[in-house]
Symmetry: C2
Subunit: 192 residues, 2 copies
DNA sequence: TTCACTTGATAACAAATGTTATCGCGGCCT
DNA sequence: AGGCCGCGATAACATTTGTTATCAAGTGAA
């Protein structure tokens, strides 16, 4: 796991030594909240094992905005950077093995890492990826029917279909769980 | 106009001198395409006067994703940076007075500007803002009815309601233009 | 085992939204 | 003035999607 992080951040041995000293391991069961809506984010999480969803509350209903799996990085990036209350909850779906670094520790070792342009690039790339995710997901709401969105999800992220409970997928696709059932049975009839 | 750009980028006089030398003025009528879907973006535009919409084609229909007005910066940021074909069209809605800088010129003067951390910050802030825009717009699709989305738009961006033809607004809100008409007449009846 | 709980399927009905067609208004050109 | 055209409103109808209720299967705990 640590090796994967090292590669991800393209660090030298000495740089990585300081960095990895700040990493703490965390094992938690399913349905554990890692960050609550309204709190100010203090940590960045790396997923070694398990999966996580990001969601917000609307009128008592969960609205899921993103899923994360192994070898991905999760944080409320806007809360972390601007120190504003997070709009989003971060919650485990499965039992998870995580590594996290606190903002405080990260700032402590930042001077040492500052001349590593790869780290800054990594940060910008992360921002880019998040922007792309929101952009593409938003476009699919303008462009596609719920059926089409589900089919695209099956093709591009089968892991979500396999590992995530259906009502979370429904809210991610912007439909009721009843309607997602309808979509699935519609597909089954076609393929039968 | 040039003064506004100088402030926006927080440049010193000498830095701005080099920068402004690369800026070219452009006056174009309404419905002018500044960047076509599929092309690779080469320019960044600043709007002195007029308004612009960003859209993509789906099955022969325009789907509008964003509007820009005076003193805003427009570019297909992902096409520009990654040199990939733009997913989006950039098109004027009104007669516009624009200033643009080509990517080539920007790179030419970049060494001179590189030690200006404000410029890098500005770039990251721009990325952040775009991410926020997509994030919030996407959330509103999960969270709100079309009526609510229209009301929010009236409150937060009345300029769009005032200056943009209705069928563009409809596609931006993800509804048919007929339904947007219904929403407006519904609001008129309430307020009467 | 048995009971509670969660998940997913289905039916019946209600509400929201799209589609197509028509009309009228106002701008603009000749 | 006359006529064309783009935009927006409206009506009628079709389709999609949400809501509520019910049931069945699976899972975990006492």
């Amino acid at each position: 796991m640590l090796e994967q992080l090292k590669r991800k951040f393209r660090m030298s041995d000495s740089q990585f030594a300081g960095f990895s000293g700040c990493l703490k391991k965390l094992e938690v069961p399913a349905k554990t909240t890692l960050l609550k809506e309204g709190e100010i984010a203090k940590k960045i999480f790396f997923i070694e094992k398990g999966c996580i969803r990001v969601w917000f509350n609307n009128d008592g209903k969960d609205l899921t905005t993103q899923f994360f799996f192994e070898n991905e990085t999760v944080a409320s990036i806007e809360s972390l950077k601007k120190e504003i209350p997070s709009l989003l909850n971060i919650e485990t779906i499965e039992t998870c093995v995580l590594w996290y670094i606190s903002k405080q520790d990260l700032e402590k070792i930042l001077p040492e890492l500052e001349n590593v342009s790869a780290l800054r690039d990594e940060f910008i790339n992360n921002l880019f990826e998040r922007m792309f995710h929101y952009m593409n997901h938003f476009f699919s709401f303008l462009r596609d029917s719920p059926l089409k969105r589900y089919q695209t999800l099956m093709q591009e992220k089968p892991m979500i279909i396999q590992r995530v409970p259906q009502h979370y997928i429904a809210s991610y696709l912007g439909v009721s769980s009843v309607h997602l059932s309808r979509i699935k049975s519609q597909l089954n009839r076609k393929n039968a």
